[in-house]
């Protein structure tokens, strides 16, 4: 203890106190304060950035869920649209078929009627031509027959008999 006291130097103690106090003050003002503030700011910045990232992640999850929902809806809508379209198509086709059938029937009927009337006209025509032809033939025959009286008489009688038969 005595040796320690003897070793103790008042001058050194004096300078140490003054210089250390000065050093403490200067470092406080020009080093520790800005350093600790900068570190604090940085840590706060990191914390904020992490929070923001977390928020962004949540937002992203929401967006993903939303988009998935939208996709599902869209898919359902597409399916319903397709179904509707198929139904419409089927309706149109069947309707067209029916219409075509009706139209066809109508056309066939018309054709049949036309054919019938044509046939009738043709038959009538043939009849008249046959009549004319027969008249002409008859004329010629008569002319020849009529050259002889007897013959004329007989002819008339035959003809009349024929007509009656008709």
């Amino acid at each position: 203890m005595e040796k320690l006291l003897e070793e103790f130097s008042v001058g050194l103690f004096f300078w140490q106190t003054i210089l250390f106090g000065l050093l403490l003050f200067l470092l406080w003002k020009f080093a520790w304060k800005p350093i600790l503030n900068a570190v604090n700011d940085r840590e706060e910045g990191i914390k904020n950035a992490l929070d923001a990232a977390e928020a962004a992640k949540k937002e992203m999850q929401n967006v993903t869920a939303d988009s998935e929902k939208l996709l599902k809806e869209a898919r359902a809508e597409r399916d319903s649209l397709l179904k509707e379209a198929r139904e419409i198509k089927d309706g149109i086709i069947s309707e067209a078929k029916e219409q075509a059938k009706v139209e066809g029937d109508k056309m066939i009927k018309q054709a049949q009627a036309t054919i019938e009337s044509e046939k009738k006209a043709a038959v009538a025509d043939i009849k008249s031509q046959v009549a004319n032809l027969s008249v002409e033939i008859a004329e010629k025959v008569i002319k020849e027959e009529l050259s002889d009286k007897k013959k004329q008489q007989k002819l008339v009688e035959d003809m009349l008999g024929d007509i009656k038969l008709n």
Partner: protein
């Protein structure tokens, strides 16, 4: 990676150099003197442990017996019926008497005594000088090293502070090494010991004291032969700071704890006999805490220097192919341990200071825990 390698290389280089420098010094001295080698080494060590009035790097003795010192003198400032300032070169390393304004001063065992013109030193029975010791405010080697360390710290940490502004909040260069240490002191020393609410106001002191002690401890391991933190006046001043800050920032709860340690757990008349013992113990504890700080740092650094130099000294005592390399190896190993001790002592001093500040700033809810800890 590259940088750490260079740092290591530099450290090892410094250590080796330290030993060679000491070695050289010893060698030269032994050649010139007839003194017993062991006493010489002992004297050399005790001289080194003391503060000195000049900054000598090393000394040697010429062929003709003349001492040659390499270094530079420092200013001597005395208060002896007025301020006396002169260069320490006047002492010629204690070999001559300095005469200033008609007064004569002599350097004896690193202390300045007032003498007559002959430089006579009178002794008492225990061989202690009885001459008048003027108040010595000299800029000694230790003061120079405090200034150097202070400037180094100012430069390092203001540049670290500036690098944040320049580099968008990220340190550059040496700051990358020091920033984690600053953060360690904040997060692992100040915060847990003082508490989240109050740690901020103690941070500058804790940081300054940690780096101050650490740097000076490391300087002590360089071949410059500096022993600042192993000086009782220095550690006393540091511990006094901790003591003053602890007690001036003490809360009401802290003082209540000192003078009424049992609180309201029992009636006042029961407390009287207990407090006759308890309160003096608590008050004594106030002083013992910083006292342990000052002795711990002083003793550790002093012991480290003594062990290291003794081991180096062994080389010259052995003077054999086996002994000298062995003591060299031992000294090298101790140097490595001393690097650890340099950091450890700075850490312990800071840690305990933080702990005492924590006691001083304790709030009510912590009181019970503190009592249990006692």
């Amino acid at each position: 990676m590259r940088k750490t390698f260079f740092t290591r290389f530099f450290l090892v280089g410094t250590l080796l150099l330290a030993q060679f420098t000491f070695a050289k010094e010893q060698e030269h001295k032994t050649e010139g003197h007839d003194k017993d080698l062991k006493t010489e080494i002992k004297e050399y060590i005790s001289h080194h442990l003391k503060d000195s009035h000049d900054f000598s790097l090393f000394s040697y003795t010429k062929e003709n017996g003349e001492h040659k010192y390499v270094g530079f003198p420092l200013p001597v400032i005395l208060w002896d019926n007025g301020l006396k300032v002169f260069s320490s070169s006047k002492f010629h390393h204690g070999e001559t008497i300095a005469e200033v304004d008609g007064n004569h001063y002599k350097l004896y065992h690193s202390k300045i005594y007032k003498t007559d013109s002959e430089g006579t030193i009178n002794y008492d029975e225990e061989h202690h000088p009885t001459n008048v010791k003027p108040l010595d405010f000299s800029i000694t080697k230790n003061v120079v090293m405090i200034i150097v360390t202070g400037l180094l710290m100012l430069w390092l940490f203001t540049s670290l502070a500036r690098s944040y502004a320049k580099n968008n909040g990220i340190p550059t260069g040496a700051g990358r090494f020091f920033e984690p240490i600053v953060l360690y002191i904040r997060d692992d020393i100040a915060r847990p010991n003082i508490g989240e609410k109050r740690y901020k106001k103690y941070m500058p002191f804790l940081l300054t004291i940690f780096f101050f002690i650490w740097f000076l401890n490391i300087f002590g391991l360089t071949p410059l032969g500096i022993n600042v933190t192993g000086n009782i006046a220095i550690t006393f001043a540091l511990a006094l700071m901790t003591f003053l800050i602890t007690n001036f920032t003490g809360t009401k709860d802290y003082w209540m704890h000192q003078f009424n340690p049992l609180g309201n757990t029992m009636p006042w008349y029961a407390k009287i006999p207990l407090y006759i013992i308890l309160v003096p113990i608590e008050i004594l504890g106030l002083f013992i805490k910083p006292f342990s700080l000052l002795i711990r740092l002083y003793a550790n650094m002093q012991a480290g220097h003594i062990v290291l130099m003794s081991l180096i000294g062994l080389m010259f005592i052995f003077k054999s192919w086996l002994g000298s390399p062995l003591s060299f190896f031992l000294a090298f190993a101790i140097s490595l341990i001393e690097i650890l001790v340099a950091l450890l002592q700075a850490y312990i001093f800071t840690m305990l200071s933080a702990l005492y500040f924590g006691f001083a700033s304790e709030e009510h809810e912590h009181e019970h825990e503190a009592e249990v800890a006692h």
